[in-house]
Amino acid sequence: MATQAADVRVADAPRGRAGAIAAAVKDASGTALLALGLSFPILALRTEQNMANQLVLDQRWSYVAIAVLLAFLARLLYLLRLAFAASPPAPRIAAPAADRPALRLLTMAGVLLLLVYPFLALALVGRAGAIKWIDNFAIQILIYVMLGWGLNIVVGLAGLLDLGYVAFYAIGAYAFALLASHYDLGFWVCLPLAGILAAFWGVLLGFPVLRLRGDYLAIVTLAFGEIIRLVAINWVDLTRGYAGISGVPRATFFGLPFEDSDQGFAAFFGLEFATIHRTIFLFYVILLMAAITNWVTLRLRRLPVGRAWEALREDETACRSLGINTTNTKLTAFALGAMFGGLAGCFYVTSRGQGFVTPESFTFMESALILAIVVLGGLGSQVGVAIAAVVLIGGTELLRELDWTKSIFGRDFEPTHYRMLLFGLAMVLVMIWKPRGVISTRIPSIFLKQRRAVRGDLVGEGHG
């Protein structure tokens, strides 16, 4: 909103450089003032306890000066660039994702990289380092890619805004943890059960919200997510509350446990025992699960039910008058989205080091994160969602690697504390740069000779 106002002002300014510069400086000064106002309570004053356990007020005016200066310069440069851009950029006609050779090459390279990733990591950083890079990075990212693709069915394709998706993730996780600890079932038996249970709960949530759309639906799903978490916290007899359930059995290699024994995976294949075998195996499991999610979604988009989802997103009344059973259509979207969430949840438990699950892993923050991945990636776009997951999840993990920043900002500087700040910044930037997500073109599911994408700027705001 401020940007538009500034555009007008710059355009209205008297022709010539001096006028434009003056207008830009004026506008940037306003921004600097705003930054001053904001940073005063946040940055300038800091309370700290001294040795005598008293609170003392620490003043940090240099921080404020830096923030204000940065805001001023950023705004000024942005406005000057606008004012002196040679000409408005020519409208680009985006080639469809499938036909854009660069993107196709990128996708293929990505898949290839994923297939050899664990061994690449092993070769590059050795065993100790590779566990971190495979477990913390790749597996984490892939879990979120899968969650993003699952939510994409509900939000991106069917257009049903779901703010409580983490509930299904939690249901899958708890289903596995409880089944495993009470009935002594293994990961591979529990995986489909967790998926089915989550899908069942998806339908259960779907029924009461059938008549709701948009904001109203969002509120109810938000509440559903919280209900599941609160039940997990308070039903202590079943879930052990905050303490969580631990000791969930780990995934086995189709019956072969990853342990240092004669029956173990390593012994069976004549390898030397190493914990990394399990990590690599888990990597391929989640890779396969994510790939299946993607494949199912792409298939369904071409079937009547997938088309019905997209039509439902566009116009529910028209759908009904064309003979589409909107009730079933919504419920299948909910159920399928929930199922993938549940599968991811089941995997999540087994991928954690100690096979440990607590309600704290399923806060609203997780729902928001998954939704952010879907929206930033571009609603309805599979590749976009994957890219967004890599950037958002990989990015926050990367912050842990930035120890060298301590040598610049002092020993107290903790880059991970800035996670949310950077996260918000990334969201704002993407929404300015590409308001409809990173990949905003929509490829028709039926075409005559050649796929022709629907250009991003022709696709309605917030939809792909």
Binding site: A318, L322, R442, P444
Partner: protein, 240 residues
């Protein structure tokens, strides 16, 4: 006369507590163009939607080919070879023209898709050139044609059209009415709800006039065109 294709008998329907239809009787016979004219808010579109079960008729009976459809859900009515082009077109703007038509074909057998596409595009040559274009980028007239074409894709016996002339230029309106006449010539039964009384009455075999949720007059199109009260209420200044 034989049994009507569509019969509406003393149908009442409500929006909350407000009675929108106060006992409507109406017949559409095989091969006819029947039109329903009336002022804004008379209940024309409500009748159209009530036939489609949304809102459901609270009293009375609606029958299609002798079968009672009063209590069927909308999507099941749509699978009975009744098709509707709703008010305001309601095409899917982000889907291509071809995908829009494909959505219309959901109620019929997919095997026919390509044949039906050819057959229907014969009525709408403009659409044929725009098959891979996004629905929302079409002009108003083209969108209306798409809405009619989409309805036809389900191979209906009865086509319900709600205000196809809404917001369109006179020349485009004429073209759409030509298509409606051509469809009828080829055997399609059409029930047309219109505000553009002059065009609608000239086109229709029979016509009904609706005022405040009841039918106040009926007759052949020519008869009604000649009635002075019709002229005064619906045609003065409307001759375009």
């Amino acid at each position: 006369m034989s049994e009507p294709l569509l019969s509406v008998r003393s149908v009442k329907s409500f929006y909350g507590h407000i009675m929108a239809l106060r006992g409507v009787d109406l017949d559409v016979h095989q091969g006819e163009i029947v039109t329903l004219i009336g002022a804004n808010g008379a209940g024309k579109s409500t009748l159209m939607m009530t036939i489609f079960g949304d809102p459901r008729a609270r009293e009375g009976r609606i029958a299609f080919r002798g079968r009672d459809i009063t209590h069927l859900p909308t999507h099941e009515i749509a699978q009975l070879r009744i098709a509707q082009s709703p008010e305001g077109r309601r095409i899917f703007p982000r889907m291509t023209v071809r995908e829009n038509l494909q959505m219309g074909a959901l109620a019929s057998n997919e095997v026919h898709f390509q044949d039906d596409l050819e057959r229907i595009c014969a009525y709408f040559p403009l659409l044929k050139q725009r098959l891979d274009q996004r629905g929302g980028t079409l002009s108003g007239g083209e969108q209306q044609m798409l809405a009619i074409a989409r309805a036809l894709m389900s191979r209906p016996q009865l086509l319900l059209l709600d205000e196809p002339s809404l917001g369109l230029a006179p020349l485009v309106v004429k073209r759409i009415f030509d298509v409606i006449r051509a469809l009828n010539m080829d055997g399609m039964t059409i029930f047309l709800v219109e505000q553009n009384a002059f065009h609608a009455l000239r086109l229709a075999h029979r016509a009904y006039v609706m005022v405040n949720g009841t039918i106040t007059m009926s007759g052949t199109g020519k008869e009604l065109l000649a009635r002075p009260e019709i002229k005064a209420a619906y045609l003065e200044g409307g001759r375009h």
